[in-house]
């Protein structure tokens, strides 16, 4: 498996380095913004001029306007979510359908490596990469706080935020991996995975904005990603862990089952 992991590292290194740099840069930038601009004042002024539904949505997104709330929002910002989902979806799409599409899977699986090991190698690599990505984001927030003299989020809270972020991305990875073993074209698979992630986010936004759509909340995976709850409780809600980990595990298990049975290519 070392051979396969080495190959995966070289294949994804540039992409993952770029994605990690963008996420870390974004979280660092949020620290700079929070420390140098009067964001609470600006937001309060802005909220006076928006409809009540939007005001409610912003209130739910931010919780409050303390430095900690704003930094936590940096982890729930659409850009941060898109970066993580992008990394997860691309790795999952490349894992099987990408290799089928470029024709390489046939030669790889004709070598003495079992499908189980091949699949395990892909999952181990993705879990490691997404953990590192989340850790890099947390490290950037920590560095940003130090540089700009903020004492908003302690180490434990940051670890919990990163863990919650990682679990959300693993959920997208598991789902897209299932699409990947069913498909033959990485582009389509990645599109489908990203579309589901986007729809999940939109469902969350609509359900928060519009009272009549509130019943949709439990159906959005993003509903179980809750930086604000971590801030409030100083703990990762069990429900979040259970749903996100369950979603990731179910997607991965279904993908594994299908991968063992599918014809190659």
């Amino acid at each position: 498996m070392t051979n396969l992991l080495k190959r995966l590292f070289f294949r994804h290194a540039l992409f993952l380095a770029a994605v990690t740099a963008v996420l870390a840069g974004f979280e660092f930038l949020i620290c700079a913004v929070v420390s140098t601009i009067d964001v609470p004042g600006l937001l309060a002024e802005l909220l006076n001029n928006v409809p009540p539904a939007v005001r409610e949505f912003v209130r739910q997104s931010f919780g409050g306007f303390s430095a900690a709330d704003l930094l936590a929002f940096g982890w729930n910002h659409p850009i941060a979510l898109a970066i993580g989902a992008g990394a997860a979806v691309v790795m999952a799409a490349r894992a099987v359908s990408g290799e089928v599409e470029n024709g390489a899977l046939e030669l790889v699986l004709s070598q003495p490596i079992s499908r189980r090991r091949y699949f395990a190698g892909q999952v181990v690599f993705a879990v490691s990469a997404l953990s590192l990505l989340s850790a890099a984001g947390a490290a950037a927030t920590l560095a940003g706080q130090r540089v700009y003299g903020l004492r908003a989020l302690d180490g434990r809270t940051l670890v919990l935020l990163a863990l919650n972020y990682c679990l959300l991305q693993l959920a997208w990875y598991g789902l897209t991996l299932l699409f990947s073993v069913l498909g033959r074209e990485a582009g389509r698979v990645a599109f489908a995975g990203f579309l589901v992630a986007l729809l999940s986010y939109l469902v969350l936004v609509i359900a928060q904005l519009w009272r009549n759509a509130a019943f949709l909340l439990p159906w959005s995976v993003n509903n179980y990603y809750s930086p604000r709850e971590i801030l409030a409780a100083h703990a990762l809600p069990v429900r979040s862990v259970a749903v996100l980990a369950g979603f990731a595990a179910a997607g991965t298990a279904a993908a594994f089952w299908r991968f063992l049975k599918r014809d190659i290519p």
Binding site: T2, N3, R7, R11, N102, G103, A104, E106, L107, L109, S110, Q111, P112, I113, S114, R117, K261, D263, I264, P265
Partner: protein, 298 residues
């Protein structure tokens, strides 16, 4: 014990039956040709032998075990018909990558294969996407053979090789057979298979038409001879021993000959001939041979 055996192998894709009751076995040291036109089911058979494709029915054993076991593939080398190498890896990195799947087994044949196939230095340092089709094919063959596998499965292996490399390739296959390695070699070019194989299986639309020694295939084969006479086509050509069918058009005659060609050559030599074309037999001619046999047996 045979290196591989197939019994009544079937494979369906929905309503399409890609393989119908294919059975044969290959012994150590045998070079076995697997002939058939494109779409006949050759690649599907090879993929089933590697556990890449699941058969719908029948039994497949490699070294007495199921092909889905990784240990079986450790003893097998494979060259796919549509070889796809990672374009961003250099030739050397590719050879090392695939050798790395057998950590306990080195690649003893790599230097000899590189020399025999005439792979030049730039092939190892350039990325695969910048290499010619022929060079990539040579790398594919080295990947398949470098660990000296007991069974070699080669799907249309000579695509992209020039005649000199084809000759070197034939030498490598015969060497492998001398070392008691079994080789299954799929092709739609009869002459290629004829040059190295001891036995052939002929596949058409997923069904085995025949499994025969190459010698008996040669004897049975109906071959086409085209002659243009200076004057007119002589009478009674079709009555010449060995001629199974004759078509005449003006001064041109096409003769289908089975077995010994000498009586026909002697008969034609009595006339003034303008053009004499006796091409290598093609798959079509083989199928013709077997259709004729089927018709005769009815």
């Amino acid at each position: 014990m045979p290196v591989l055996s197939l019994e009544n192998l079937t494979k369906s894709y929905g309503r399409v039956r890609a393989l119908r009751g294919v059975s044969f076995a290959v012994e150590p040291g045998e070079v076995f040709g697997y002939l058939g036109p494109n779409g006949a089911g050759k690649t599907t058979t090879l993929r089933i032998l590697l556990g890449l494709v699941r058969p719908t029915g029948g039994r497949v054993l490699l070294f007495g075990k199921s092909p889905s076991r990784a240990e079986v593939r450790a003893r097998t080398g494979y060259l796919p018909g549509e070889l796809a190498l990672y374009g961003n890896m250099t030739g050397e990195a590719l050879l090392d990558y695939y050798a790395g799947f057998r950590p306990g087994r080195p690649a003893p044949l790599r230097p000899a294969l590189i020399e025999a196939l005439g792979v030049e230095r730039p092939a190892f340092t350039r990325r695969a996407k910048f290499l010619s089709h022929g060079t990539r094919q040579k790398l594919g063959l080295i990947i398949a053979m470098q660990h000296d596998p007991e069974l070699l499965l080669l799907d249309e292996p000579t695509t992209g090789f020039d005649p000199l490399v084809q000759k070197a390739f034939r030498g490598l296959i015969l060497d492998a057979a001398r070392r008691r390695r079994a080789v299954v070699f799929s092709s739609h070019v009869l002459s290629e298979v004829e040059a190295v194989c001891g036995r052939v299986a002929i596949l058409r639309e997923g069904e085995l038409v025949a499994v025969e020694a190459i010698e008996s295939l040669r004897e049975r084969m109906v071959r086409r001879l085209r002659v243009r006479f200076r004057n007119s086509v002589p009478d009674g050509l079709e009555a010449t021993p060995g001629v199974t069918r004759a078509e005449v058009e003006g001064k041109n005659a096409t003769l289908w000959i089975r077995g010994d060609v000498n009586p026909v050559v002697r008969r034609i030599a009595r006339e003034e001939v303008e053009r004499f074309v006796f091409p290598e037999p093609e798959l079509e001619d083989i199928f013709l041979t077997y259709y004729k046999r089927e018709a005769e047996s009815r």
